[in-house]
């Protein structure tokens, strides 16, 4: 008897529930200029933002759906709600969050984790942030942690300076879509020299069927500052698809350090098409830690542009694809200054017909003298039904650039399984241990609470099937 491993088994019970929240705003499906004007009006935005939205919408309409990656042909952009707002006001205190939504986040254990190890928390439900709080000690130091809508209202100068500068709306079709209908997300500013030692976290939740979530995150780490930002996401299981198309822009100033960690665990009916990019100035350090476990299709390639001397960029990622899932993930690093360095480490696991792809771009302009990069892609494949691909692109125009590239594909080996089961472990335990060992080099970078969560998500079910 062979038992088939199956991860994420408890998704339905733990995250896959939906709740009957009342909505004060729930737009009919479909996108047009009127929808965009209404979103902007609800948010009472400045004129320039509405203009930007409308221009982006034109761009979105005129651009074809990208064909070079995962198959997006089935996305029906007319069958999506572009805005929904649950009733009730945004809370500063957990008690103020509307009861139904509170129950949701209680079930997702959000308030507990905030008390335990976070400097601040925000939670986004559909289009809007329903709760956000930054601990006082960080407020006093001038740290700003707001939902992006409030950020635009309260800090128009910062906003005008940075919004859309890292990822212009013309970057790609999904970025254009996001810029035209964006709502929610996090706005963070860390002042010069302030080191936020504990992470800030946002939790994203989609509840409605056919919902589109388009959060927009903007993070500015001023000179010499430090920040660790965490995000997690889940959604109910529906038979038809939802869309998550976020844009995340990060500016890491001289000598600053930012780490952005994602545990993406959308249900497997969500298209997750996200543009994430950071620019790093002199001696700055940007790290993306990106774990993709859920979604139907993910296309995401966190990017770092190294614009200042000695800047450093890292993209560490884990992708896991089970039946019906495609994880098309990777990294982009652009070296545009001397003495810059970068590391890309990608670990992917596929089983039961799932598909993982590593897609990476490593580019060095002629300015990037004495720079170096190391790229490691490892894939673990469980069976003959599953598929893994590697698409690395290297464009090196710099002299004295050192590039190391390692790639490996391995199957769960019968020898390892025999070795571990002959010590008394079940086949599930053995497989689970091999997988957790495989991702260990990335998992050890996560805060303990997240590492535990990740291992629990990846933990083997006791469910066996004869085959």
């Amino acid at each position: 008897m062979k038992r088939k491993p199956k991860f994420n088994r408890d998704y339905k019970k733990k995250y896959g529930f939906s709740d009957s929240v009342e909505y004060t705003q729930k737009f009919p499906k479909g996108l047009n200029e009127e929808v965009i004007r209404r979103i902007s009006a609800i948010k009472n935005e400045p004129e320039w933002m509405l203009e930007r939205r409308l221009k982006s919408y034109e761009e979105f309409k005129n651009r074809p759906t990208p064909m070079w990656g995962a198959n997006l042909a089935q996305i029906d952009f007319d069958n999506i709600h572009y805005f929904a707002k649950a009733s009730g006001k945004k809370g500063r205190k957990w008690e103020d969050v509307p009861e139904k939504i509170k129950t949701t986040f209680d079930r997702l254990k959000i308030p507990q984790s905030e008390r335990k190890f976070l400097a601040g928390t925000a939670t986004q439900y559909e289009s809007e942030v329903v709760y956000s709080r930054l601990k006082e000690e960080w407020q006093k130091l001038g740290v700003i942690f707001e939902d992006t809508d409030s950020g635009l209202r309260k800090y128009p100068e910062l906003f005008k300076k940075y919004f859309g500068k890292v990822i212009p709306y013309k970057d790609n079709k999904l970025a254009a879509l996001n810029t035209s209908v964006w709502s929610g997300g996090s706005f963070i500013y860390v002042p010069k020299g302030v080191k936020v030692k504990v992470p800030l976290q946002t939790y994203f939740r989609i509840n409605l069927e056919n919902m589109g979530q388009f959060e927009r995150t903007l993070i500015i780490a001023d000179e010499g500052s430090q920040l660790h930002y965490l995000e997690g996401c889940t959604a109910p299981m529906y038979s038809t698809d939802s869309l998550h198309a976020a844009v995340v822009e990060i500016i890491v100033h001289k000598n600053a350090k930012v780490r952005y960690t994602t545990i993406q665990n959308w249900s497997n009916n969500v298209y997750n098409l996200v543009t994430k990019r950071a620019i790093a100035y002199e001696n700055a350090r940007m790290e993306w830690v990106d774990c993709n476990l859920g979604s139907k299709i993910t296309m995401k390639y966190p990017a770092v542009w190294l614009l200042g001397r000695k800047a450093h960029g890292e993209v560490l990622s884990i992708a896991y694809a089970d039946k019906g899932q495609t994880q098309d993930a990777g990294a982009k690093i652009i070296h545009r200054a001397p003495d810059t360095s970068s590391i890309i480490k990608s670990k992917s696991i596929c089983m039961n017909g799932g598909r993982t792809s590593y897609r990476g771009l490593l580019k060095a302009t002629h300015n990037a003298k004495n720079s170096k990069s190391k790229v490691i892609c490892d894939a673990l494949i469980f069976d003959n039904k599953s598929r893994t691909d590697t698409y690395p692109t290297n464009e090196i125009d710099a002299q004295s650039f050192s590039l190391e590239h390692e790639a490996s594909v391995s199957k769960i080996s019968q020898e390892q399984l025999f070795y571990l089961t002959s010590r008394g472990l079940s086949e599930e335990q053995a497989t689970s241990l091999i997988v957790s060992g495989f991702i260990e080099p990335i998992a050890k970078e996560l805060p303990m609470e997240y590492a535990v969560e990740l291992n629990a998500l990846l933990d083997m079910s006791m469910e066996g099937s004869v085959g």
Binding site: Q416, L420, R423, G424, L425, L433, G437, E440
Partner: protein, 255 residues
């Protein structure tokens, strides 16, 4: 089975086994009583490793015919996991690397799986001191088990790691498949002194030691020596047998 065979911890009857389409063991009989040390010798390709893998339940060997009894219970159909729970242990000739898997963590999971009785289960803290004691038997510090399972280990470290696992899992039958090969003189001494210490703490444990080399008789005093050739035990005797092997090699026994 006669009374003696019923008393044996391990009893193998008329075992025929194939691997990759080739018949390796051809009607092998063998019995090991509880508490005894047996040595299995034989030329290359005689089927020594196939026998150890068959006893442990590997799926790249196939039993064509015959029976394996452990404590008078037929175990032919049991999975490696179930055999481990009964107390069978195999120290592998070539232990496989399992990258990223912390050794002490693995050992605790293995220990708690091996002993299905929950009363024997240990908390991480309690297990740590238990592991520290066991490590000392093999002259290893607790630091050793902070490493990943066999990852980047030297040949000698891998063999020591196998014996550490044996010490932790407290088997009723331990099969050492050429644990002595590839060890230098000092490591050989350390490893087999450790085997003796483990045996003296656990007198009911039986050992089946597979080897090519007589040098291990400097450390091990076997109750029986078996000679395996062409898939069959062709001779079983006591230590006197060793003298004949030294004098004439294995060939003498094949007729």
């Amino acid at each position: 089975m006669n009374a003696q065979q019923k008393n044996n911890l391990l009893e193998i009857k008329n075992l025929t086994v194939s691997s990759a389409g080739k018949t390796i063991l051809k009607g092998l009989d063998m019995g090991i009583p509880a508490g005894q040390i047996h040595v299995l010798m034989g030329p290359n390709g005689s089927g020594k490793s196939t026998l150890s893998k068959t006893i442990m339940g590997a799926d790249d060997v196939e039993i064509i015919k015959g029976r394996i009894y452990f404590k008078s219970k037929r175990i032919n159909e049991l999975s490696p996991e179930e055999r481990a729970h009964l107390g069978i242990f195999l120290a592998n000739q070539y232990p496989v690397e399992v990258p990223g898997v912390n050794l002490s963590n693995f050992l605790r999971i293995a220990y708690n799986s091996r002993f299905t009785d929950k009363k024997k289960h240990m908390s991480p803290l309690k297990f740590r001191s238990f592991l520290e004691e066991k490590s000392k038997l093999i002259d290893l510090s607790i630091e050793f088990s902070k490493r990943n399972l066999n990852e980047g280990f030297s040949g000698g470290e891998k063999k020591k790691c196998e014996i550490l696992q044996m010490a932790v899992l407290e088997p009723k039958l331990a099969i050492l498949d050429e644990t002595d090969s590839g060890l230098d003189v000092d490591a050989l001494k350390t490893v087999f002194m450790a085997v003796n210490k483990i045996k003296s703490q656990n007198k009911a444990m039986s050992l089946l030691i597979i080897t090519h080399y007589e040098r291990i008789f400097n450390y091990i005093k076997p109750d029986k020596i078996h000679i395996l050739q062409d898939g069959k035990i062709i001779k079983t005797g006591n230590r006197e047998l060793l003298k004949s092997i030294q004098k004439f090699g294995f060939k003498k026994f094949s007729k």
